[in-house]
């Protein structure tokens, strides 16, 4: 799939902007830091995921100043033979709205799946180096890209966890005040546990299946990204989804109940799981060099990209946010060499490997996009 044209209204730094990347190959967006290069990618990312790729709340995507109340992002493009037009309106006060091919959607979330992107950012290093949260998010984003219905499972797990935690906290607070456990806390907890067990188990299964599907692709991508730089025995990576419980989640929740009540948090569940990454025979998070970690982060993104492309039969749009400033020459070259064949939009303040074959250029000056 590819974007033909993108329009922004009151999005971040842009009052109005129009952007027409090359349908195939690399489009480079240049501009000094702080001019709004990433904002452009963020707009495209928003249409694909309904989230800010920098993790900002949606309201913050609306341009500040002049009292703008809504931001609009609209794109025209192609997905194989089909023409797609996606439009999303982010509102500060009222309801957000979305359209796909001129049809208003009942829920904004129904637009998930119309456009797919694969995003590379310098922060991806945290996928390997950081805490498990980022790795769970990586899996969940891919799950939604592959099957938009997983969005509902993820939302249900989050909601049930919030409710369960609120109950644990209030129960713990009562107990601390010397009032003991209210009799209905126990039975209400049963209910939330049942719901968490069902939704949590479904999510963990989906993530574990995904991790397995990603495994070989990540290993393959890693070999290519790290080719020439990896030491002997250090070019093999493996992925393994690790649940925070053994056996059935329902039983684990029951077993953890005392502890959960004492601490006021849910100690088992999909929100405590991790995607274990290994290079060679050692954990990548603690026993790998920064260079290896960077290669693995790239490999994870590439693996996700290939999997989505294969499963949905159309290649996601690649968004690379100033990625080459962080990579050494050999990794940059390797990444360029294994960049998939579709559309790629790259922002940069200057760094670009000499080998890059650029199909189109755009420049941002004084906050304005010049094609």
């Amino acid at each position: 799939m590819h974007l033909e044209r993108l329009w922004l209204t009151d999005f971040r730094s842009y009052r109005h902007a129009e952007f027409a990347p090359a349908p195939q190959g690399i489009t480079v967006v240049t501009g000094a830091n702080g001019e709004g290069k990433t904002n452009l990618l963020e707009a495209i990312g928003y249409l694909a995921t309904l989230r800010s790729l920098r993790g900002n709340p949606s309201e913050s995507l609306i341009r500040t100043g002049d009292g703008a109340e809504r931001a609009v992002v609209r794109m025209e493009g192609r997905r194989e033979a089909r023409r797609i037009v996606v439009e999303a309106e982010i509102s500060a006060t009222g309801r957000s709205r979305a359209q796909v091919n001129g049809q208003a959607l009942r829920r904004v979330r129904d637009l998930l799946g119309a456009l797919q992107v694969t995003v590379f950012t310098p922060e991806d290093l945290a996928l390997v180096k950081g805490g498990p949260q980022g790795r769970r998010q990586y899996l969940d984003d891919l799950l939604v890209a592959l099957h938009p219905r997983h969005d509902a499972t993820i939302a249900e797990v989050e909601r049930v966890l919030k409710q369960r935690t609120a109950l644990l906290k209030s129960a713990g607070w009562q107990a601390a005040a010397g009032r003991g456990l209210a009799p209905d806390v126990e039975s209400t907890l049963e209910v939330w546990d049942a719901k968490l067990a069902a939704a949590g188990d479904a999510l963990a299964r989906a993530r574990a299946g995904l991790a397995e599907a990603l495994g070989l692709r990540a290993a393959d991508a890693y070999r290519r990204v790290a080719s020439g730089v990896a030491h002997r025995g250090r070019d093999v990576v493996s992925l393994h989804y690790e649940t925070s419980w053994q056996g059935s989640l329902a039983e684990a929740l029951r077993a953890a109940r005392g502890e959960d009540l004492r601490r006021g948090v849910s100690t088992v569940g999909p929100h405590r799981d991790d995607l274990r990454l290994q290079i060679g025979s050692t954990p990548a998070r603690t026993h790998a060099s920064q260079g290896e970690q960077r290669s693995l982060a790239l490999a994870l993104r590439l693996a996700g990209h290939h999997l989505v492309a294969e499963r949905i039969g159309s290649e996601p749009v690649l968004l690379l946010d100033d990625i080459f400033s962080e990579l050494d020459a050999s990794r940059a070259e390797a990444l360029l060499a294994c960049l998939p064949s579709g559309q790629a939009i790259i922002t940069t303040a200057g760094h670009l490997p000499v080998e890059a074959v650029v199909a189109a250029w755009a420049r941002i000056e004084d906050g304005k996009l010049l094609a």
């Binding site: 219905r149 509902a152 209905d184 209400t188 049963e190 209910v191």
Partner: protein, 216 residues
Amino acid sequence: MYAAAVQDLIDELGRLPGIGPKSAQRIAFHLLRLPSHDALRLAEAIRVVKERVSWCRRCFNIAEGPPAGEAGAAGDAGRPPAIECDICRDERRDPTVVCVVEEPRDVVAVEKTREFHGRYHVLQGAISPIDGIGPDNLRIRELLARLEVEGVKEVILCTNPNIEGDATALYLASLLKPLPLKVTRIASGLPVGGDLEYADELTLGRALEGRRELVD
């Protein structure tokens, strides 16, 4: 900024659900511009509703009684009289089936179907620890107290098909399980007249789960 009385009005309006500061201000100025008798009609309607309408003592639906001045003048002055709603007073309704809903507006929704001829029980909410609402804050004890006295044979759990409504239904189901009565949950699934193609996966999945045999 504004005269104290105007600011008070804006503050009061702003406390209403769904009304933000901007809307509160707009409504306040609209009221200021209205002729006295038009504006006071609203005040009067609020006063009358607070005087005459209260909760049905049986099912906790909305119930309207005679004006407070006439009934219960002696004794419980100030408190609305203990009254029953139209549905609980209606002798033709089947007392053995009780439909449990979250809010009075859900009673209206079920009534519109004209398919249900039993009685109701309004919980006045759903279990939601985030909002500090546990079983104790709902009219659950009152429901249990009714069941034997009224000879109820079936309880239909008709709470919303969302996370909180489902949790409330699950909780009630486990509570009612030991009792000698039938407990059912309303089906959730596809809207009538819709296309399968446009149904979201979650709803369609639930509809499949709740499928039933056509030929027996």
